[in-house]
């Protein structure tokens, strides 16, 4: 599967405000690409453009439309259902199958692996910020994505779960393309094969 993403003179403008300004670059096909920058620099908008969640106002983004993507959002988004049902929904929608028993077995195994099986029946919207973020990470990988988009995926996690999440991301990046947003320079240096520094809606060399 071709996972490369190419930006050609891409701009994103909302209500006359330029969020992304005429950017051109290529995302490496493999490994972990990290977008780093301060608040409001345009990192999240770039990530959303790459994932196809929003369309550019100008320019062209070339990517394989058939790739299956997993996304961890900065503001966790969950259906008002149990953790099991949220993970099941993502699987049944993405994997186009209805083998419920098999899905539920995978969900239980995955949660058990991270000592989170106790959350299985809990309402995902009622979990703590850290728990939501980790469940969101699990939801993004349980659908076997080709590309994983992570928007500050460890910002709410404690040290133990942050290390666990970084290991998980690192392991998955061997088979899945990972594109991640972070403000943490050390984390970027630890994980990244490619670092893109975003400043005022453009790429900088800082």
């Amino acid at each position: 599967m071709d996972n490369s993403i190419q930006f050609n003179n891409v701009s994103y403008i909302v209500k006359n405000k330029t969020i992304i300004n005429n950017i051109s670059f290529n995302i490496l096909e493999d490994g972990i690409s990290v977008l780093i920058g301060q608040n409001g620099s345009g990192k999240t908008t770039l990530l959303r453009l790459m994932a196809g969640l929003i369309k550019p106002s100008k320019g062209k983004i070339i990517y394989n439309n058939k790739t299956r993507i997993g996304f961890v959002f900065q503001q966790n988004i969950f259906l008002n259902r149990s953790v099991n049902d949220n993970l099941y929904h993502a699987m049944s929608c993405s994997l186009n199958g209805k083998n419920k028993k098999n899905y539920e077995k995978i969900i239980r195994t995955m949660l058990d692996e991270f000592n989170m099986l106790n959350l299985l029946k809990m309402n995902a919207e009622k979990l703590s910020g850290g728990e939501q973020q980790f469940i969101s990470l699990i939801r993004s990988i349980i659908i076997n994505p080709d590309v994983l988009f992570l928007d500050e995926p460890t910002s709410n996690l404690d040290i133990k779960h942050k290390n666990l999440a970084e290991k998980l991301i690192s392991d998955y990046s061997k088979t899945v393309k990972v594109i991640m947003v972070t403000q943490n320079t050390k984390q970027a240096n630890r994980l990244a094969n490619q670092i893109l520094s975003v400043k005022d809606g453009t790429l900088s060399n800082d």
Binding site: R48, A51, G52, L53, R68, I69, G70, F71, F73, I77, L79, N80, H89, A90, C93, S94, N123, I143, F149
Partner: protein, 232 residues
């Protein structure tokens, strides 16, 4: 005052004794209004969810028309339908004028804008909330609509009950296309109009009390569903 007391007493006795004349009217009212509600939901809910998730030319016009038609005068609906179904009308060959079917069509037309417009507002809230997640799954519009309809189900039930309340209380359209024929097209509201004009206040009052009772049940249901939704 004495007369009202007598009428109320007689009406309560009629309700208590479940007289067939009274029961027949209630059953027909429920059949007509519930059928109209089911049909209108089958049309309104997919329409509302599609309007929520898709942008297309003419969408604003459809929304404006739906919102305007929420206050559609039932007698006007009745008049148009009568002209279509009467022996000179283009749909006269179906021969459904003065039948429950015509009444169901009239009520369906009246309810659709209410359920569709209210449901679009409800589904919009959930689509704004889940938009990025649903797009990231790269699923079909049908699956997006299905997810949104399920997530907003409590609000949609409330909207449906609002439509049902309107159908039960409606009199103008059903009296024109139904004709208020005894044991065939006489429903609660049309019977109240007729029996009041005849001076048969006991039957009119028993039906009126039943209508109020149904309205109370609907409103209690709305209250409990909303409360459950807030606690969920």
């Amino acid at each position: 005052m004495f007369e009202i007391n007598d009428t109320l007493y007689g009406a309560l006795l009629m309700i208590w004794s479940l007289e067939s004349q009274y029961i027949d009217i209630i059953v027909l009212s429920l059949k007509v209004s519930l059928t109209a509600l089911i049909i209108s939901c089958m049309i309104s809910l997919p329409l509302a969810s599609y309007l929520s998730i898709k942008n297309f030319f003419g969408k604003s016009l459809i929304i404006i028309i739906l919102n305007s038609f929420m206050a559609l005068p039932p007698v006007v609906v009745g008049l148009f339908l009568y002209l279509l179904l009467s022996w000179q009308g283009v749909l006269s060959s179906y021969e459904i004028l003065y039948t429950p079917t015509a009444m169901i069509i009239a009520q369906t037309i009246i309810i659709i804008p209410i359920v569709a417009a209210l449901s679009k507002e409800s589904i919009d809230i959930y689509f704004n909330k889940y938009r990025d997640y649903l797009i990231s799954l790269k699923i079909s519009n049908f699956k997006v609509m299905k997810t949104l309809l399920w997530e907003s189900r409590h609000a949609l039930v409330v909207n449906g009950l609002a439509g049902l309340g309107r159908a039960f209380a409606e009199v103008g359209a059903v009296i024109i296309v139904g004709g208020n024929i005894a044991e065939l097209t006489r429903v609660m509201t049309t019977a109240i109009v007729l029996e009041t004009s005849r001076g048969n206040f006991v039957l009119a009052m028993s039906l009126g009390l039943t209508l109020i009772f149904i309205s109370l049940i609907l409103n209690f249901s709305v209250y409990f569903i909303k409360t459950a939704d807030e606690l969920d």
